[in-house]
């Protein structure tokens, strides 16, 4: 099996593990970190293809994902801090009254 293929399988596994973590974990901060894991899986896939094709397109998209991840964390963590001040807990089940 090729090196590119192995890394693609690893990227898919990272994405699936991150999505599972978002679904099954209870702590809001851990869910945020699992989202970062999903972005890292996508990054690995993009870098592997950019390396295999010898083109810079994948790296450009990787930089877009870096910016998206940074902006996501910069907005999400203050929101989490606000929610925790309201409810005194990080349990995502206790925020279910946010459903419209």
């Amino acid at each position: 099996m090729d090196k590119v293929q192995v890394l693609q399988f690893v990227a898919a596994a990272l994405f699936a593990l991150g999505l599972t973590g978002v679904v099954i974990r209870r702590n809001v901060l851990v869910m945020l970190m699992c989202m970062e894991l999903m972005l890292n899986g996508v990054n690995l896939s993009l870098v592997t293809f950019a390396h295999a094709m010898g083109s810079a397109v994948g790296a450009v998209l990787v930089f877009l994902i870096f910016v998206v991840a940074t902006a996501e964390i910069a907005v999400a963590i203050p929101i989490v801090l606000l929610l925790v001040r309201r409810k005194r807990t990080l349990d995502v089940g206790s925020f279910s009254d946010l459903k419209g």
């Binding site: 090729d2 890394l7 699936a16 991150g18 999505l19 970190m33 870096f66 005194r88 349990d91």
Partner: protein, 176 residues
């Protein structure tokens, strides 16, 4: 024998780093305290940076370590330390969606693996396969993909405005 080993050393190291990344990603799902989850995620990101460096995409490896580990995860660790560690969500790991989540993971992993197994094209014909340097990357980024570059700057501006809005909301709820 030794020469074969040394010729394949970078491939072996890539596999070792990929295995480390997978193991720490799996550990993120079972570890209990958020700080240990953050350390597992940092391990995963650093080993992915090792993979990028061994693939020859050195500047992405450097930015992976600088931005992800240096900025994002430091911010995350700071937030974890700011919050109450005696919270009950820190001791109960899984929500009630545990078994549907595991079932969905099995389905998604199988679908992705089958898709890669059947449809992944081999090495592209006519592609150089070599790595590209930062000069060609940055000229492509600023000339060919200038729209993406502008989008990232707009996105950063939006993130700054949103963070300020969240902080102002925080102050208002303090007063009220």
């Amino acid at each position: 024998m030794i020469r074969d080993f040394l010729a394949n050393l970078d491939t072996l190291l890539i596999y070792a780093f990929a295995a480390l990344a997978l193991a720490s990603a799996a550990a993120m799902l079972v570890l209990r305290t958020p700080m240990r989850v953050a350390l597992a995620l940092i391990t995963c990101m650093v080993s992915l940076g090792g993979v990028y460096g061994l693939l020859g995409v050195h500047f992405v490896a450097a930015f992976q370590v600088l931005i992800y580990v240096g900025a994002v995860m430091v911010f995350m660790v700071y937030a974890i330390m700011l919050l109450d560690p005696r919270d009950e969500a820190a001791t109960a790991r899984y929500s009630s969606l545990l078994w549907p989540g595991v079932f969905g993971f099995a389905l998604l992993a199988e679908a992705l693996a089958a898709g890669y197994w059947n449809d992944l094209p081999g090495a592209p014909r006519g592609a150089t396969g070599g790595s590209f340097d930062i000069a060609s990357f940055s000229s492509a980024f600023l000339s060919e993909y200038w729209l993406h570059f502008e989008l990232t700057s707009v996105l950063l501006l939006v993130a700054v405005v949103a963070a300020i809005a969240v902080i102002r909301e925080n102050r208002r709820s303090d007063r009220g």
